[in-house]
């Protein structure tokens, strides 16, 4: 992992309507060496992700906007925001064929079990209570690494075995035993 250099830095999109919380989460993410884009609303987040309208990208006739979309490896969003809540944003992302595999994390200042369960049930990977701390941000790495599993040059030592399906692994084992 150490020899890969800056180009494999993970990019996190942070969404929060509070300026202070944006500054905090940005700093927390940067100390973990993540690249950060912080936006103030769900609307801005959807624009950034290329989901400006309600349609997903297949009905978007302007193919240029799809090419300009920057790669995002994880989205961390506040729950309580005016207009589009973090929950609304989560639902939209999970409905999008292009974005649904991006891990989504929800933050909230209120500890409401039904809210937490609802978010997790609809695909959120983590739910952090505010104020968010370094120990919370440390929990993001496994979700980010999981998303990188299918990139062959991530781990130069064993690129192929990671991607083999169970059947092919069985066939390979049988071959080795012969």
């Amino acid at each position: 992992m150490n020899g890969l250099g800056a180009e494999t830095q993970f990019h996190v999109l942070a969404v929060d309507d509070s300026i202070i919380d944006r500054k905090l989460i940005e700093r927390l993410l940067k100390t973990s060496s993540y690249q950060v884009t912080a936006v103030e609303s769900g609307v801005k987040a959807l624009e950034f992700l290329g989901l400006a309208g309600d349609e997903d990208e297949f009905s978007n006739s302007d193919s240029n906007s799809k090419c300009q979309r920057v790669e995002v490896n994880l989205i961390i969003t506040d729950y309580s925001m005016p207009a589009i809540t973090g929950y609304d944003l989560l639902r939209k992302i999970k409905k999008s064929t292009s974005l649904r595999d991006i891990p989504v994390v929800i933050m909230s200042s209120e500890n409401v079990p039904s809210r937490i369960n609802s978010c997790l049930e609809h695909g959120a990977d983590e739910f952090f209570l505010k104020p968010v701390r370094q120990s919370d941000v440390n929990k993001l790495r496994p979700h980010l690494m999981r998303g990188q599993k299918n990139i062959p040059n991530l781990n130069k030592r064993k690129p192929v075995e990671e991607c083999l399906s169970p059947d092919r692994i069985r066939a390979k084992l049988n071959h080795d035993l012969e």
Binding site: S18, I20, L24
Partner: protein
């Protein structure tokens, strides 16, 4: 020549913080902010706190404006401002302010105008106290940085003077 040493100023900073923690004015979250400050972001805490001051003063003004009008006190709007103030206070570790916000919010949910007015006065008082103390803290921090710079002069002097 500056009078106070780096060590003395450092001790002053710690003493001030200890008092604020003991009084419950600040909580552990403030320490979390300090941990995020380093060479790459040397003014992080004062930057965040400055934003907090601007935001809070705006919210306090809004709250007072909402309460001044007896007929049209919009308790809903008050709740929104209070949630914002609560959130940002919690994020910087301003524990007492946050707690007053909770009491204020409870009063606003009952449309209790006298209760809200009392809570607002207390909020304004706590805010002034915190602002003064944190200004004092950052002033000592700046003096300490200056004192450290004087004690450890910049290495450029050696570059310009090869004889050493």
């Amino acid at each position: 020549m500056l009078g106070l040493s780096v060590e003395q100023l450092g001790a002053d900073m710690n003493r001030l913080l200890a008092i604020l923690f003991h009084q419950g004015v600040l909580d552990e979250q403030f320490l979390q902010l300090q941990h995020l400050q380093d060479e790459s972001s040397p003014n992080f805490v004062s930057e965040v706190v400055t934003i907090y001051f601007h935001e809070s003063e705006k919210l306090l003004r809004n709250l007072r404006a909402l309460l001044v009008d007896k007929e049209l006190s919009d308790y809903n709007k008050m709740g929104i401002h209070l949630n914002q103030l609560m959130g940002s206070s919690s994020s910087i570790g301003a524990q007492r302010i946050r707690n007053v916000c909770i009491a204020f919010r409870a009063a606003s949910e009952l449309n209790n105008r006298p209760g809200c007015l009392r809570a607002l006065e207390l909020l304004e008082y706590e805010y002034c106290y915190l602002k003064n103390k944190l200004h004092e803290f950052f002033q000592i921090e700046q003096q300490r940085m200056l004192a450290a710079a004087v004690r450890y002069p910049a290495p450029q002097q050696h570059i310009n003077n090869p004889q050493g």
